[in-house]
Symmetry: C2
Subunit: 158 residues, 2 copies
DNA sequence: GAGGACTAATTCATCATTCAACTTTCACGG
DNA sequence: CCGTGAAAGTTGAATGATGAATTAGTCCTC
């Protein structure tokens, strides 16, 4: 960021695109949260479950899980503590590196995941995916991917 | 949400589009937050300032501001209290409806806005707008707009 | 094999968000 | 007018997020 006196203001087109993106992000998160509520899960809970479900042996190192879910170690630590109290995951110590810990999906966590996932997918479809044509969705993905890469490069602490 | 046993899983394409959208939302918010930090503002602060700046007389009813920024009345109330303590806005009572309050931009708030806005715009350009071709941006806006409308319809409490 | 630099993860203090309860005012039907 | 119900906003307690400081273990290099 330099002087910025040379930065052009947003055009109307750009404004509209930008604000629409903002609104969709926020409203969508809210809606998904609401749809998960009946199952006693938050959005964050669910994402942890997804990551662990997809992982080798249903376990991930805390750091990897933090990276995978794009959150700080501190936040993840609290999050896992809550989920541990809820019986969804447990911590296991790591043989090869005694500083490290694994977050491991419990039986109950896995069952919860299997039970909730279809509803969540339905929710994602209903409020997002199915509102695009396949072409529009692919075009969305294609133009958003470089943005994601750009941002991943310069994310510092999180 | 009915049985969901008939809801098709996400295809690879769909998964990628969905996760990319998620990642961009989160990373982008983080980046904008970081870019605002040097000016002592949060993203939320900034959005309030924008809304008030654009409003007639630099003032809005609490309810309208809450609706405009897509947040709950309670949250807004706390938010405005903080910003009031920071000297950026003040509350003024409403003549026509004595239950009502206006949030009004102070001189300092307006100055802050004018000072910070160029940097924020630069940030939005750098991390979002300028990473699309104009056509891609317009196509993004076009396909996201119905999603925003869909979600606005069914947002309950916030 | 001892020292210093680095990484994994947690803790503590502070701040933000949520949800429900509450106060005050308005609207309007009888 | 009177009362019932709804709306505008706030408050407070409980929960969640953030960031700096902390603990414990590893890695490297001499």
């Amino acid at each position: 960021m330099t002087t910025d006196s040379d930065t052009p203001w947003l055009t109307d087109q750009e404004q509209r695109a930008w604000r629409t993106h903002l609104d969709v992000s926020r409203l969508l998160m809210h809606q998904l949260e609401r749809d998960l509520q009946p199952f006693g899960l938050t959005n964050n809970d669910y994402e942890i479950l997804v990551n662990l479900s997809e992982a080798e042996d249903h376990r991930l190192r805390m750091s990897d899980l933090a990276a995978g879910t794009l959150q700080s170690k501190s936040r993840l630590s609290h999050q896992i503590t809550r989920m541990e109290n809820a019986g969804l995951v447990r911590r296991e110590s790591c043989e090869s590196d005694r500083r490290g810990l694994y977050a491991v999906l419990t039986e109950e966590g896995w069952d919860t995941m299997r039970r909730v996932a279809p509803h969540h997918v339905a929710s994602v479809r209903k409020h997002f995916i199915d509102l695009f044509t396949p072409e529009a969705l692919e075009s969305l993905r294609a133009s958003l991917t470089p943005v994601a890469e750009h941002l991943r490069e310069r994310r510092g602490g999180l």
